[in-house]
Symmetry: C2
Amino acid sequence: MSTEDLVSAVAREFGTPAVVVDLDVVERNVARIQKMCDEVGVANRPHVKTHKSPVLARLQVEAGARGITCQKLGEAEVMAEAGLDDILISYNILGEHKLGRLGRLLAGTRVTVAADNPVVVEGLPRAAEIAGRALPVVVEVDTGRKRAGVATVAEALALARDIAARPGLAFAGFMLYPPEDAIAETQVFLDAAMRGVREAGLEPAIVSSGGTPNLANLGRISGATEHRPGTYVFNDRMMLACGMARLEDCALTVYATVVSRAEPERGILDAGSKTLTADTGGLDGYGLVLEHPRARIHKFSEEHGFLDLSACNDRPLVGEVVRVVPNHVCVVVNMVDRLVAVRGGRIVGEIDVAARGRLG
Amino acid sequence: MSTEDLVSAVAREFGTPAVVVDLDVVERNVARIQKMCDEVGVANRPHVKTHKSPVLARLQVEAGARGITCQKLGEAEVMAEAGLDDILISYNILGEHKLGRLGRLLAGTRVTVAADNPVVVEGLPRAAEIAGRALPVVVEVDTGRKRAGVATVAEALALARDIAARPGLAFAGFMLYPPEDAIAETQVFLDAAMRGVREAGLEPAIVSSGGTPNLANLGRISGATEHRPGTYVFNDRMMLACGMARLEDCALTVYATVVSRAEPERGILDAGSKTLTADTGGLDGYGLVLEHPRARIHKFSEEHGFLDLSACNDRPLVGEVVRVVPNHVCVVVNMVDRLVAVRGGRIVGEIDVAARGRLG
C-alpha cells in the first residue's frame, strides 16, 4: 500500500486526528539501541513513560532489555499487572496513599525506587513492611541538570547510609540523568560517591544513567551499569534536532486533516494543544508536517493547529490529510487512549496506552 | 472541615496529583453568568470543552442555558448519549468518517454545525442524508482573531447562499469569536453580513459569540442571540489575569505534593507537563500555588513541576501538599479521567471527564 493509500485508510477507518505508530520502525529502533547497549556492556532499562504500553514494553524486554523504568507508580502498576518484572520507579514516592500502593506492588514484583531526600527515605520502610520483603532504593544524584537529585556528594553518602540503616530498605546504588555536555563533571561526582559508599561498606549494584540524547555518551561513564532511554522507541522532532534520530527512525506521526484555509497564507489542522500539546521541547513550531515541511505550526487552540503557509510553494487544500512528527512524542502519546498500529504499510490494529490517565 | 483537613483527606484518599473541583464554586459561577446572560437577553450556550462532563453540562442547562457547545464530534456524541440536546458543534466537520458519525448523531439529537469553507459545506449534506433530517449550519466568521472563520463579508455571504442551496442543509446564522478589543469592527462586519443574507432572503436565527473574557462585552454586539462561554464554569489563572474571575471564583485546583527540595531555592511538585500541561496561556509561570503565591512554577518535565522558591519567605517542605490554580483549566481537565468533587469542604465523590480521549 502506498503512503497515500495508508493515510486515506487511517482517516477513513479512524478519522483524524489519529496517532499512528509504524511497528516496523519501532522494532528497528528497539533492536538498534539494544545492540548499542550490548556492544558497550551497559544494560538497557527502557523508560516506558514514552509509550505507556505493556505490549511495547514486552517487545523491548524480549529484544534484550533488563527490566523497565517507570516515572510513576501508576505506570508500574499497569506494567506489573501485565507481567512485566524488574521495574525501576525513577521517582520520589511519598505519602500514605502511594506507600500503600508501592507495598502491594512490591509484594508481587521486583521493584526498585529512587530517593533524593530523607523524608522520602523515612517513608519507604512502610512499603517494605506491607510487602513483607526488602525494597531496594537508589540514591538520585544531580550532576548539573538542576532537576531532582541530591546536589552534593556528601548528601548522596548521607542518604545511602540512611537507606542502608533503615529496616526493610536496601541501598541499591545511584541513579543519574547527566547533562549531555557534562560527562566529565558527572564522572567526578560519581567517582567520589562510589568511593564514599564503598568506604562505608556499601556496594552500588546499580548505576543508572538516562535519556535518549545521552545514548551519544553510552559507555563513556565509568561505572554505569545501565541506561534508561525512553524516546528512542518512537523518536520525535527533538531527537531529529539533537541528531539522535533520522527521519526514517520516527515511528509515530499524528495524522491530521486541514480543516480551514481562511487566507492564502494560513491553514488550520484538526490537531491542537489537546492532541500535539503545547510542549515545544525548546524548538520553533510544534511539529514537522511531512507533506509540507515548510509549513510552520506556529500556534494552537485546543482543537486547532494553526499553520503558517507563507514559506510553502505547494499549499495544502481543505480536506488534505497530513502526517505530523510531534516535537515531544512522550506527551502526545499521553493524550490518547489508543495508538493506531501499522506494519508493512497496512493498518494492523490498535495499541492500548494502558498506563495513561494514572495520576501519581 | 478546614482547608488543611480537606487537602489531607484528598491526598490520603486519592494520592497526588489530584484534580479537585469545588461544586459550591461551580454552582455560583454557573448561576452568576446565567444571570448576566438573562439580564441582557442573550442566550447562554456554554462550551463543554472546559469540563467534558455530562453531569456539569446538565447543571448548566438546568440553570437556564440554551443547549451546549462542543468543539468536536466526540464531545457531542458523549453529551447526546447522556441526554443533552440542542448542541452546536463549533467546528468544520469533514471526511467520510466524521460525516457518518455526524449523520448518526443528528438522527437523534438537535445539532447545528459551523462551516467556514465550501469544501466543508459540500460534504455536510451526506450527514443530513444519513440522519433523514435537515442539518442547520452557521457560517463561521473571523472578525480579527485570525483563527477559523471567513475573513470577508463577501465570503460569508457566498457560504450562506451555498448552504441554503444545498439539499438537506439549512442556513442557521453566524458564529463568531471576536477579539475582546474589536467589538466595533465586529459590529461593522456583522451588520454587513446580516444585511447581505437578509437581502438574499435568508434569516440568521443564530448569531453566536464566544469566550469567557468576552462576557465583558455581553450585550454590546447588536444582533447577537447567544454566547458560548467555556472557562467560566471553573475559571483559571488566565481568567484571573484578564479580570473575569476573582480567586474565590476558581473552582478547580490541582493538589500536588512537594517531592524534592534539592537546594534551598528549588522545589519540585509531582505535577508536570502531563498534569498541568505546557500551555502557559501567555502568562509567566505555569500556575498559582495558593499556599505559596510567590513560588514560581517555571519549568516542567513530564511528572515534575519545578519551583523557583527564591522569592518565598515561607518555603514548603518535602511532603507538603499544595493547591495549584492552573493557567488554562480546559487543557488540565483533558489530562484526567476523573475529577475529585468537593462540596461544603468535604469530598463528595468523583466526576467522570466522560468526553475526554475522543479524538475528533
